[in-house]
């Protein structure tokens, strides 16, 4: 400023000095010129002040933006500086504060997006190891690596991703061992429209509470509940296409067309069908018979915080028009209703599931004499209450109690008198235990299960599980 004033003064002085040299310049003329020059000087001063103010303002803003981004990756810092520079040029002409805001938030978005696109592939996994000890027959105590799962999710772009889960069960897999190696999920998901998601591949059927949330950290008790293993064959997946969406008032819907069950796999001589009727005839994307496809739909409402109300239905024929097969018109239908409410430290849930296999008279006639004909209906329900009793640092202790009642063969299709198999009573199981969570990803579990009908199955269970 000082320097500028000096310059102007010198210039003015020079002008004064040169003035008398003008021959014939009257006093009046001289005064007019002086006035004009004084006005020009004022103008110059004002312009200079404004320009200096602008520079200071821009500098401050630039510094702010650069400071905000200084902790970021060099790429985005450079971008921020570049943006700030262009912002400076922009604001030099208009002094709108909003411009700087926009630039800053744009830069922030750019930074976030850069961070996101950097991690296109995500590796995760879960696993559980369980110990079961029948209280009336300790020699049958068993320890098992129930499952070890490696999950890979890859995002191709903003809207398209691949989800996969690879699983090993029971520790060792070979021709002479009992373990299994399987692909549990393998699908592509694409965001079609705001909120609408399309899926194609091997994906989980949205049935019940556990099937789509089956990590050991997500449920209470060492073992998954009976209803959602014997009636709903968790972890239940099919190959097909699916569509999901949600609404503003909390309703989520899922629907799809997939492979279904293969009743041709039914083994009337084994008890497998008695343990889990659908678990014994599911196809899991393994050379799955696809003459008959199945439909599914699910609705879940979460409009009130802490509450979930939902239901699902799955239906498809299971004969696949197999030559010589006695139940080509058989249809498997499974539906469920579920509720979960989590007020404060409580976690309350209830579920009812029922399955039906129609048109099995002729097939069961061929099974006469065998212990396990195909049931016409199977059903079960449970109710469960858990309470977060202690929370200290990373440790969370939640005792729970669950009562379930289920029957894997509630009724059979008609067979001539004397040739059929009697239906059994509903099994009733009470489970009492606790989950001890360590942080978010690790859980230690202990519980005791009491069976009402088959008391020899009473057992003590211990387990560890993790998910990341």
């Amino acid at each position: 400023m000082k320097l500028n004033k000096k310059l102007i003064a010198v210039a003015l002085g020079a002008a004064f000095l040169s003035a008398p040299l003008h021959a014939g310049a009257s006093e009046k003329e001289l005064k007019a010129r002086m006035d004009k020059m004084a006005a020009e000087l004022e103008e110059l001063k004002a312009a200079l002040k404004a320009s200096m103010q602008k520079t200071a303002e821009l500098e401050a803003r630039q510094q702010q933006i650069v400071a905000a981004e200084s902790n970021n990756a060099s790429a985005s810092t450079a971008a921020a500086t570049a943006a700030a520079t262009s912002a400076a040029t922009a604001t030099a002409t208009s002094v709108a504060t909003n411009v700087a805001t926009t630039v800053a938030t744009d830069v922030a978005t750019a930074r976030a997006e850069t961070a996101r696109s950097a991690s296109g592939t995500i590796l995760s996994g879960y696993g559980e190891i369980n110990y079961n000890r029948p209280t009336k027959n300790a020699s049958a105590a068993q320890t098992d690596i129930r499952r070890a799962v490696i999950a890979i999710e890859h995002r191709f772009d903003e809207k398209t991703k691949m989800v996969s889960e690879f699983e090993w069960e029971h520790g060792v897999v070979s021709a002479s061992d009992q373990g299994e190696s399987e692909i549990e999920q393998l699908y592509i998901e694409r965001e079609l429209n705001n909120g609408l998601r399309g899926k194609v591949g091997l994906f989980l059927i949205p049935s019940g509470l556990l099937n789509t949330n089956h990590e050991p950290t997500a449920y209470y008790g060492v073992e998954r509940n009976f209803v959602e293993t014997a009636i709903i064959p968790s972890t239940w997946r099919e190959v097909g296409v699916g569509l999901s969406g949600d609404t503003a008032f909390g309703l989520t819907w899922d629907t799809g067309i997939t492979t279904g069950f293969d009743l041709g796999k039914w083994d009337a001589t084994s008890t497998e069908g008695r343990d889990s009727p659908l678990g014994s005839i599911h196809q899991e994307g393994q050379l799955a018979k696809s003459r008959d496809l199945a439909f599914h739909g699910a609705l879940n409402w979460r409009g009130v915080p802490g509450l979930l109300l939902g239901g699902s239905v799955f239906s498809g024929k299971a004969g696949h028009n197999t030559e010589g097969f006695a139940a080509n018109d058989a249809r498997v239908t499974l539906y469920d209703l579920h509720a979960r409410y989590t007020p404060g430290a409580w976690d309350l849930s209830a579920l009812y599931a029922r399955g039906q296999i129609s048109n099995t008279e002729a097939l069961n006639a061929t099974f006469v004499g065998n212990p396990t004909p195909v049931p016409k209906s199977f059903a079960g329900w449970y109710t469960q209450a858990a309470y977060q009793l202690l929370k200290s640092g990373d440790y969370t202790l939640s005792p729970f109690v669950r009562y379930e009642q289920f029957n894997t063969a509630k009724s059979y299709a008609y067979v001539p008198q004397g040739l059929g198999v009697e239906t059994g009573p509903d099994e009733k199981v009470t489970t009492v235990g606790a989950n001890l969570k360590v942080g978010e990803g690790v859980v230690l579990k202990a519980d005791y299960q009491k069976f009402k009908e088959d008391k020899s199955r009473d057992r003590l269970n211990l387990g560890m599980g993790f998910a990341y």
Binding site: S70, N71, T97, T105, V163, S244, T342
Partner: protein, 178 residues
Amino acid sequence: MRYQPLLALSACALCAPAFATQYLSAEQAQQLMFPDATAFRPQPLALNAAQMQQIEKLSGLPARSVNWRVVGAFKGDALLGYMVLDDVTGKFELISYAVGLNPDATVKQVEVLTYRESHGGEIRLPAWRRQFVGKSAAGGGLTVGEGIANISGATLSCTHLTDGVRRIAAIGQVMLKK
């Protein structure tokens, strides 16, 4: 210097596509939170060690970052409040969200800007987000199970977002409260 335009361009290219999963931009969120505001000014925060400790104590969570993206909302010269922008990881993917704070550091509003998980999008439901309104880090009630109800099937997204809001409320309490 030579590469700056290139970098700026690639930064723009990265944020150019319209995401179906992006529900709100930062500008839309600040307008939603402070409809009366006449100006929004970025007021980025840089925390020092002592402030970070205070925030950790108040929220029970690591303060995580030194720098925070804060925008002040003004009506003329009067401060209406702040919007803090942040990202947390849901189950696998980032959730971008914004927390509106009143000048007294109580939560004014929570908005989800982007959500990319296949499940758990219910955290966007207004009824769920309303649970945060009026609460502060000092007053409590900003924890899943203690004031904030869980969403079944979206436990991780719920918990992580709630933790994020609690951390920001603590930052407001320590750094921004008037």
